[in-house]
Amino acid sequence: MNPNSSILSPAQVSEFLRQIVVTRDHEVDCGTCIEHIGEFAEKRLAGADLNTVLASIEHHLSLCPECTEEYEALKKILETESVKQ
C-alpha cells in the first residue's frame, strides 16, 4: 500500500462521494459489462443510440476504473482500425 495514503485527498473524497451519489439500486457487474463492451464500443463509435442494457453499461463505466480502462483501450483499437479502412 502507499505509505503516504493515510489521509485521503480532497480529490479522493470527492470521487468517493460522487460514486455514492450516482449509485443505483440495480447495477450491472464487471462480467456483464465486459460481455457487452464490444457492442457498446461499436455503438458509441457509430454514434448510435444506446438501449437499456447499454445505458446500464455506460453507468457501470462511470463507477468502475478497470472496465473503463479496458473500454478506452478497445475504443482506441476500433478508432485506429476505422481510420485505416
Binding site: 460514486q19 457487474d29 457487452h36 480502462e69 482500425e81
Partner: protein, 204 residues
C-alpha cells in the same frame, strides 16, 4: 451475424485442422495488432509481453467461444477478451507485493478523522457535516472487507487486485462495493443529506 462472422466461429471449430490452424493464426495476428495499438506506448509492456498477451488472449477466446452471441463483430468481441486478459495480468504484476493484512489494516482507519478529516472537502460547515456523517456511516454500516476494499480502490489499487486479495471474483467484489455504496447512500439520506447536498459540498 453476417457471413464473415459465421466463418470465424466455424473455422475456429473446424474439424479440418489446417483450416482451424489458419483461423487461429489470423485471429492471433489481429489480436496482436490490436494489443500493439492499445498497449504499445506503455513503458511496462515490451514486444515480448504483447506476444504473450496475444497468445493468452487467443486461448481465452477459444475457451469462451460458446459465450459469443453476435452482438458485436467477432473480432471486436475477441479484442475485448484479449484486453481483459492482458490488463488483468498487468494489474496483477503491478500490485503483487501488497498483502491482505496491509489492505485490511488501511481499511480499519477509513472511518477515522486521521484518514477522513472534517475538512476533507473544505472548511465550510455543510462540507464538514457531509464528511462527519459519512465517517459515522462507514463505521456503523460497513464490514471490514467493505472498508478495506473502498480504501484500497481510493488508494489506486486495481479492482482485480482487491478482489484477488479478498479471495472473491470480480463480480462478487463489485457486489461488495455496490452494497457498501447503497448502504452509505441510505445512511446519508437518513441523516438528511441528499445527493444535491453532496453535490453542493463539492463546490468550494
Amino acid at each position: 451475424m453476417n457471413t464473415t462472422e459465421i466463418n470465424w466461429i466455424e473455422s475456429l471449430r473446424s474439424p479440418n485442422l489446417e483450416e482451424q490452424a489458419t483461423a487461429m493464426k489470423s485471429l492471433r495476428d489481429i489480436l496482436l495488432k490490436g494489443l500493439r495499438i492499445a498497449l504499445g506506448g506503455r513503458g511496462d509492456v515490451s514486444e515480448a509481453h504483447l506476444e504473450d498477451f496475444a497468445q493468452d488472449g487467443l486461448l481465452r477466446v477459444l475457451d469462451k467461444l460458446d459465450l459469443f452471441q453476435g452482438r458485436s463483430l467477432f473480432t471486436t468481441w475477441a479484442q475485448s477478451v484479449a484486453l481483459n486478459t492482458a490488463f488483468a495480468e498487468l494489474r496483477r504484476k503491478r500490485w503483487r507485493d501488497v498483502s491482505l493484512d496491509a489492505m485490511m489494516e488501511q481499511g480499519e482507519h477509513l472511518a477515522e478523522p486521521s484518514t477522513l478529516p472534517d475538512d476533507s472537502l473544505g472548511a465550510s460547515e455543510d462540507q464538514s457535516r457531509v464528511v462527519i456523517a459519512m465517517r459515522k456511516a462507514i463505521a456503523e454500516e460497513l464490514t471490514p472487507k467493505q472498508r478495506a476494499a473502498i480504501h484500497a480502490e481510493l488508494d489506486g489499487m486495481p479492482f482485480d487486485q482487491v478482489c484477488s486479495l479478498l479471495g472473491t471474483s470480480r463480480n462478487a467484489g463489485y457486489k461488495l462495493l455496490h452494497d457498501a455504496r447503497k448502504a452509505l447512500k441510505r445512511c446519508l439520506e437518513e441523516a438528511g443529506i441528499s445527493g444535491n447536498d453532496i453535490q453542493l459540498a463539492f463546490t468550494p
